[in-house]
């Protein structure tokens, strides 16, 4: 049976030599979590099913630093590696894959130029083409049938979800669920779905969002944003119907090491790799 994947995410600040892993706490304070290569090695030994490197500086100038991080990591880490942030052209995908990555994720570049998904998936294959969606709730006073918006019932009303780009700094007016469907049609192999409302809160993933996307696409969905304890992952896999769960701080600061999380999930009947 296919297992649910547990994916540590390493937010990398590449403005220092070799880069460093950071974690924003509710978007303000930045905590320093360690060296990217060392942390990736630790998570591999701990049983991570996949590792995501996210270049939060997302600058083209730091591309070489990220390539070095990937090259150094894949010498000793033998699970899939996904790289996101600053990927803009099909050539960027190719470079990262040559360095040893297995997948690249795109957000801003794909929204600005959706053809990128078609081109990249044609060249490197759908399996290597992940679209990251940062979604924010937009509550509706009077939810009515709408052709344009995918309306979701949440715990305190009704909302639609808006896609954001540039790391949450700009909103697009694009419906996140419709966009996920379009990404699949264009050849994306996976959706990395982050809830902006939950990110950094530790209150749990946005389950209605996760379920809405997962039920409307046929490609795997990675739940992201808001995990504070293993139970949140359980919810993402059961009610949220996610295929994988991404987390950062609960692993970085050793609140819940990967083996603890996996054991918890296994005991609750979730199929995980132990």
């Amino acid at each position: 049976m296919l297992t649910k994947r547990i994916i540590p995410c390493l937010d990398c600040d590449l403005q220092v030599p070799h880069g460093r892993v950071v974690k924003g706490v509710e978007f303000k304070q930045i905590k320093y979590a360690g060296d990217p290569v060392e942390l990736a090695n630790r998570y591999y030994e701990d049983g991570a099913d996949e590792i995501v490197f996210l270049d939060i500086t997302a600058s083209h100038e730091r591309r070489e630093t990220m390539i070095h991080v990937v090259e150094a990591t894949t010498e000793n880490v033998f699970v899939p590696i996904c790289v996101g942030g600053g990927i803009r052209k099909p050539e960027d995908f190719v470079k990262m894959l040559k360095a040893g990555a297995d997948k690249c994720s795109v957000n801003t570049a794909a929204i600005k130029n959706p053809e990128l998904i078609n081109e990249a998936s044609e060249i490197v294959g759908s399996q290597a083409c992940v679209v990251a969606i940062d979604a924010k709730r937009r509550y509706l006073e009077n939810p009515r049938e709408s052709d344009e918006r995918f309306i979701v019932e949440v715990e305190d009303g009704y909302c639609w979800y808006e896609c954001s780009i540039y790391g949450g700094r700009e909103f697009t007016g694009i419906d996140a669920i419709e966009w996920a469907i379009e990404c699949q049609e264009r050849g994306a192999g996976e959706i990395l779905l982050t809830s902006m409302d939950r990110d950094g809160t530790k209150k749990g993933y946005d389950i209605p969002l996760t379920r809405a996307v997962s039920e409307n696409v046929d490609i795997p969905v990675i739940a992201s944003g808001g995990v504070g304890e293993p139970e949140h992952m359980y919810e993402a896999f059961t009610s949220g119907k996610a295929d994988a769960a991404l987390a950062a701080s609960i692993f970085h600061f050793n609140e819940y090491p990967i083996p603890t999380v996996k054991r918890y999930l296994k005991d609750k009947g979730i199929s995980v790799r132990l």
Binding site: T3, E75, F78, G100, G125, G189, I219
Partner: protein, 198 residues
């Protein structure tokens, strides 16, 4: 020394790193002469069947000769599928036809691709699977191989249906999953394979 055929598809660096990790020397080459001389070949592969066969055109003869000489051969992922006669992915293009059979699309009973970690049902006492009961391996594929002769299937995996996961015929081995991305269990498969080539 293991020779990896570089025919323009696939993540060769990962396979090289994984083989290095198990203490094996590796040569990645596009040179037909080197491939003809190779003692042991790995055929990697990511991407579409048709395009891969086109890129493989110049090496086809050398691969078939290698196999006829009963030298160890390992196909990985698409490198497994290319061994068959044809694929639904590229209906007009012939495969290597070393293992007769077809490659068909995974039925849409669940999400496709079959992506993630899955277990094997080991059917045969295959040398590359030695010591690997109950382990998980990383799969990512949208098509699966259906060899005509069921006895070449050394292991299957379950994803709504039962699919071939490891093929084995004489000195030909092939895995649908990626051993180079399957953690310590994957490294063990490569180690087992390297042992055969000595």
């Amino acid at each position: 020394m293991i020779t990896i055929i570089d025919y323009g598809s696939g993540n060769l660096r990962s396979i090289k790193n994984a083989l290095k990790k198990v203490g094996c020397q590796v040569k990645i080459t596009k040179d037909k002469k080197q491939i003809k001389k190779a003692e042991t070949i790995i055929l990697p592969g990511v991407g579409a069947f048709g395009k891969a066969m086109k890129n493989l055109k110049n090496y086809k003869e050398a691969i078939i000769r290698h196999i006829e000489d009963d030298k160890p051969f390992l196909g990985i992922c698409l490198g497994l599928q290319l061994l068959l006669t044809k694929s639904e992915e590229s209906p007009n293009i012939q495969g290597l036809n070393i293992i007769p059979g077809e490659v068909t699309r995974i039925p849409p009973l669940g999400k496709v691709p079959h992506m993630g970690w899955n277990q094997l049902n080991i059917k045969k006492n295959c040398p590359i699977l030695e010591g690997l009961e109950d382990e998980y391996f990383y799969f990512v594929h949208s098509y699966h191989a259906k060899p005509k002769e069921k006895k070449v299937i050394a292991a299957t995996t379950n994803y709504h249906i039962k699919m071939a996961a490891v093929l084995w015929k004489d000195n030909i081995f092939a895995t649908q999953f990626h051993p180079e991305k399957s953690g310590k269990a994957g490294l063990k498969i490569l180690k087992n394979f390297v042992k055969l080539s000595k």
